[in-house]
Symmetry: D2
């Protein structure tokens, strides 16, 4: 942490900062410049934060240097992590395809979407039973009935299930069905939900807030980690910008940046970022090429009747191309498409 | 709703749209242009939304025209509403000052802040017992102990209490102490929380999401309203932009825009938007001048030791100026500073 | 300037930074922390910038501290400046109303708009002869013919003229007619134009880039100042954000922030920021209340036939209210409406 | 174009719109809804734009439907274009690598950078002689001396030269040396410069404004095209968002979106978007995979002494990897790395 003094700061002002820091058990190094004096602080940054140094007389600015997250940081955990979801690895060396319908609507629709996904190379099934919707008048998901459908389709296909939870009170219920909990972009700073997910015993896929900086995303992951759960997969899904030609602006650079700052796997959602079917395949290629540990894609057997986000779901005709892409591209970045775990008896995947 | 056909759309494509709309009970008016054909839809917009018209062959775009919110819209409720909080009105004709500490820390600090606020003209006390913080290592608030302190200070000062709730599971508890529930910017799309607040029986102050459009803000209010609670006050608190000189960018235009679209009162938080003490008074003046129904301001007896957001709290020296501003400016926009409700004998709340 | 070393930086890395800085004539102060070492640099910051410290081995970050602008900074010129435009002051103590048509169309339209403006209290006439338009198919202004109309209307009304210049090659021509050059938002980083305006001998109104930070805005002003022209008025006109309910988001906080960082006057354009007539008066009130040194407003005698930005022009019916606002509000912030310079006999400008 | 009437619009209001449109030679189709009436306009959209329909009584909104650009649109020119730069093609089927130093500093540095670039597979040389810099105190480029160096290096290497022009007055000079003019992000709406480039007789690389929508980018290209020059290559170089971990946010989706809307080639600048050496290779891979027609990359023999943007320049060690990437990835998206034109004997340009 560095304290920058204002041009007119007096010796007394400088001494005020130094003694406050020293009283708090830290060390303060004063560098007197021609125009300004700066004071470097060494010690427990969290504690300095509570000193309100910015409020002291003569202080112009306080600049934080260390990363504010610890458990998810690569500083203390240099090797990149692999998170296992029902036996399926997500992390370095592999590229995992997660696919399924945006919303679970019926057993048939979910099973068909899962089979489409599996045929394309997916090893994890996504599908929403609890849907956070901007409008209270929009379809909000089937709730527990949807979770049961997902569990049935898992039995049928052998694909572990990733599904969203939108309220801390539902975490236990959702965790009793799901192999991985998803926390969506609108809940990226719902701290009660993050903490509950941290105590759920299940891996968590944490979508980036559409307005969240990469640092805030990692802080949200830290909330989960702090409750004892480091099985976290970060998911970049587009941020909100002035550009309206796409639903969101996929921040493709966030993948290498987050992988450099954190040891957690980072995947990409090309369906929700682009918001349009035509963009899903190009963005999937970009995500794999940039080095993502996986992609999560909406597929739907009949998008024209989908209750949620039909315009962005891939259909049967697109899946052959998807199947090619997810096999051809990963080797160029030192990865292979993740295979289904071989130890899946009873409901063995194709 | 208007469906815009692609340049190469065929008659069959156009007929496809028309029959789908008519089957759904709507009317479709076809306008054939030189370059494009457009189809105007008349009927139940919610129902059209579920038709996935955008997925039909030959459709280039679908443009929605009606506002997607109903209960909070001014279209069906032309007169602007007044919301009463423990007897204190917020709405047209008055300008209500809400003030208090960002976080409740001790009984003394809270009482002193309340008295500072009251002396400046505040009629409602703000103060946080549950604090949503970006870092899990930051002070998270006193919880129920903080609520008890707020209730005691209300007894002492007669000021009704506004306090934040961050989890649907806490709504009942917070509502048992508070006169008004606050929903913060990070929970602006926490739909479970919005619905719980809608069932709480208490007025709700709904902060705009830092990434939220005005339309999304009104949709969030609609979630509360849909559960039977129209006692909602909207609070503009700054949005996230590329500019880093301020903590957030106060969207001052949002006040007249939201007041034109919705009948709900709209207030401004100049403390959190600017993030710096020096900006609080100028932004308060701007908020009153633009026509806000109120302002909510952080005050603290000793900001240099504040556990939360000290740099933006007003101190005693600023309050004389604040007291002047909140009395002098409202008459120029046809308002008067809200007075404490007269039915408050001996500092006892209604 | 502060150099932050990476966690694994060696003594050799640290020494490398120190010797490079010392070779360049600066001083380097090393603070060794538990996790990180930071090095404070003292000396000529511009020179350090060319050292590419960020490229050195072991360097994690380089943080600049001093303001990068000098001539327009308040650090070296504490008192706020007054800029005179044809005798009319813009700066502290007064609130100057600049008004006129967005584009000069005909002599009649321009004269009528000027008279409307003057009746409302305006002392400077705005009007565009060169219009930068997003579309090459939109009306681009009358060019020199428009400048002649403006000069005639100045003769008739005594109002000095503010008009835009869009190309460095036109600066001399425009300066031969205008009392103040306007540089628009799309040219906020057209450095050739800024430099030419700096050599024009005329005051310059510099609009903020719609994507420009306050720092970049001041750097653009520095380009003008560096050519010997300190008669610069900064104009906040809204920035581009995700919000689409308004044409731009007026960054009202930018006024006090820019006034704190720079000694130059700061005015507000409520017409182009809101983009809608209904917002002009509320935003004008907000601008005056926040402490702007002036406002610049579109007026048009017949906005329904305006060739440019008709929807945001004030009409006759609005001007009575504008006249009231610009007289009633400034005294509350220690200002008075700027009067026409008294040395204006027979409608002849000073 | 669609005119949306306000809920309370009268028959007279509707008739007013209809007659105004018909007087202007257009047709108006009225669709009366339960809540609202909408009017579809057919005819010359440019002319409707000048009617100021938005200002008419009873009009709530006016929605434009056709693309406002014509010459660069794919609507009238379905096949994607190939632009040739000194014989080197940029467009579908190939992936062209453009590389070189950010700024031309010395003959040696430029030649070395060109040879590094060529060895990695580049067929076009980039290098700046005129540099637009945020600070007037930063290195502004060598001007014509730099152009001469570029021409010499072209003679030596056979690589056609792409270089920036920042002022309309310099276009003729720069065009006399360069094979392609570059217009930078800060000049994306410098219309005088765009028009001059349109008359230069040279191909133009048009960078997207860092705040520019895709539509504005295409409108800027239309300014060039309107002057008779359709040899335009669009370059996505990152947009400005709230995220500060990268210099800009590379909008990777803009590539397929712009390719769908326009027939012009679209390339990507991974150096300026990320702003950090470590991001250049991942973003280059993403750009090729998403389907870009080329990439433009900073290389420098000694970035630690570079006068401009050293932190993002690739160095010798990175180039082996770059060479692999630009050869291995294009075939996966149906392209091959562009070869130097065969009519280049002995390193002499055509």
């Amino acid at each position: 942490m560095v304290v920058v003094m204002a041009p007119g700061a007096t010796e007394a002002d400088i001494n005020g900062v130094v003694s406050l820091v020293e009283t708090a058990g830290g060390d303060a190094f004063v560098s007197r410049g021609v125009e300004r004096t700066i004071i470097g602080l060494v010690g427990d940054v969290q504690q300095f934060g509570s000193l309100n140094l910015r409020s002291l007389r003569g202080v112009s600015d306080v600049i934080r240097i260390s990363a504010p997250y610890k458990l998810v940081s690569r500083e203390n955990h240099a090797e990149r992590s692999i998170v296992r979801v029902g036996g399926v690895p997500v992390g370095p060396g592999t590229m995992t395809l997660i696919a399924g319908p945006c919303a679970v609507e019926t057993p048939d629709q979910t099973l068909q979407a899962a089979q489409m996904a599996q045929a394309a190379g997916a090893t994890l099934l996504r599908g929403g039973a609890f849907k956070p919707r901007t409008s209270p008048y929009a379809f909000q998901g089937l709730g527990e009935a949807g979770l049961r459908i997902l569990a049935d389709v898992r039995d049928e296909t052998g694909m572990p299930v990733v599904t969203e939870v939108v309220d801390a009170a539902d975490v236990e219920l959702v965790a009793s069905y799901a192999d991985m909990l998803q926390i969506g972009t609108r809940n990226a700073q719902n701290f009660a939900l993050l903490q509950a997910a941290g105590e759920s015993g299940k891996p968590v896929m944490l979508k980036r807030g559409m307005n969240g900086t990469i640092e805030e995303w990692l802080m949200a992951a830290e909330y989960i980690a702090q409750r004892g759960n480091l099985d976290i997969v970060l998911c970049e899904r587009g941020i909100r910008t002035f550009e309206k030609a796409t639903r969101n602006t996929l921040d493709i650079s966030a993948v290498p940046v987050a992988q450099r700052l954190s040891h957690l796997p980072v995947i990409v959602d090309p369906s929700h970022s682009g918001g349009h079917r035509d963009l899903v395949l190009p963005l999937t290629r970009a995500a794999i090429a940039v080095g993502a540990d996986g992609v999560i894609i909406d597929v739907h057997p009949h998008p024209e009747t989908a209750l949620c986000d039909g315009p962005q779901a891939l259909v049967n005709g697109d899946l052959r191309e998807l199947a090619k892409v997810v096999r051809a591209l990963p080797p160029l970045v030192g990865r292979t498409l993740t295979e289904a775990p071989d130890a899946v008896p009873d409901g063995v995947p194709a």
